[in-house]
């Protein structure tokens, strides 16, 4: 039985994406652990990397062994959401082919995050670590669903290699 090159790409995608996202999640949780173990330099490097993407305010971050994580509650939720949804099967993601469903999904995942972040400024809502984590995770799930779909598109766009049945013409280039 011949192996479909597209299936091979999907397998690579299914392993590669969760692996990268899982390593990111491990990295921001590892920073306080490394600091608590006395490896201050390694922890500082991880913090410096995440400082490019997050404000890292200690009061708005979870802590481990007395040290804050390298990202805030909301960013932790986004990364966890990205990782968790990248583990889900691809099949359900075909819903995103329908532009209407896609927009509803984006609005449904983004509105809670925006409301949770902006309503406290108007004094209408007080956000907590749990709400920041949950709204961030929902947003991360939405991002992961789009990311997986986009990578599938990219896998399809890459030209397929020559199969055994397609023989080169005599005298031509293989």
């Amino acid at each position: 039985m011949k192996r479909n090159p597209l299936n091979t790409r999907y397998v690579v995608l299914r392993v590669f994406l969760p692996a990268v996202l899982g390593m990111l999640c491990l990295a921001f949780v590892a920073a306080p652990w490394l600091e608590a173990c006395g490896r201050l330099g390694a922890g500082a490097v991880l913090r410096a990397f995440f400082s490019l993407l997050c404000h890292q305010e200690a009061a708005r971050s979870f802590s481990l062994l007395g040290h804050p994580w390298a990202v805030c509650h909301r960013c932790s939720g986004i990364y966890f959401g990205l990782f968790l949804l990248s583990l889900c099967p691809l099949r359900w993601n075909a819903l995103l082919d329908e532009p209407r469903y896609r927009r509803v999904w984006i609005a449904a995942a983004t509105m809670p995050l925006l409301l949770d972040a902006l309503l406290p400024f108007a004094g209408l809502w007080i956000n907590t670590p749990a709400t920041r984590l949950a709204t961030g995770a929902l947003f991360g799930c939405m991002l992961a669903s789009l990311l997986v779909r986009a990578l599938v598109d990219c896998a399809r766009a890459v030209p397929r290699p020559c199969t055994g049945s397609a023989r080169p013409a005599p005298g031509g280039f293989a």
Binding site: D97, R102, L147, A150, R156
Partner: protein, 182 residues
């Protein structure tokens, strides 16, 4: 797919992202989940979808966003370092101020403090440091830019894309062969 058409929206949005992320005060918007960069990706996707005759895939949005973020990062580096040097009154004074502010950071690891104290202030070492910082910034801008490109295409592309899974396959006749053919 229009390969050349991807550069124009990426350049417009990337330059805008780089400039907005540099302007003192306005750059703080990036503290909210890199909002300028994500917004730049969305803008690039909007421009690209508007000018594309064929439906734009999410994969194309991903590439467009990556490109926008990378251009934004490069523009940010080009503008921010000279601006910081000018605002602090010269390169030597800029590095002195950076060291003084680092001295005030509590619980800074001694290894890191020593490394920062021996940071070069001129010559080829400084150039290497700037290039490394630039590459890191381009990578850091590319990630949220990519997500912005994805969100932008998902929002603005209203035409349905025919995927290979939706190709029509004619039904196969399940009746067994009678043996009279031929």
């Amino acid at each position: 797919m229009n390969e050349e058409g991807i550069w124009k929206p990426a350049l417009i949005a990337g330059v805008l992202v780089g400039i907005l992320s540099t302007i003192p005060g306005l750059h703080l918007v990036n503290c909210a989940c890199c909002a300028w960069v994500i917004g730049g990706g969305i803008l690039a996707a909007h421009l690209y979808v508007k000018g594309s005759a064929a439906p734009v895939t999410l994969g194309r949005g991903l590439v467009l966003g990556l490109l926008t973020g990378a251009i934004g990062g490069a523009v940010y580096i080009l503008f921010s370092i000279p601006l910081q040097i000018v605002l602090s009154g010269g390169s030597t004074r800029y590095f002195e101020q950076a060291r003084q502010s680092l001295d005030q950071v509590p619980n800074l690891p001694p290894v890191l403090r020593e490394a920062l104290a021996s940071m070069p202030t001129g010559g080829s070492e400084l150039a290497v440091l700037l290039v490394l910082t630039g590459l890191l910034m381009i990578a850091a801008f590319s990630l949220p830019g990519m997500l912005g490109g994805l969100i932008g295409v998902a929002i603005f592309e209203k035409r349905k894309i025919e995927t290979p899974t939706q190709v029509y396959h004619p039904p196969i006749d399940p009746s067994p062969p009678t043996g009279n053919e031929g």
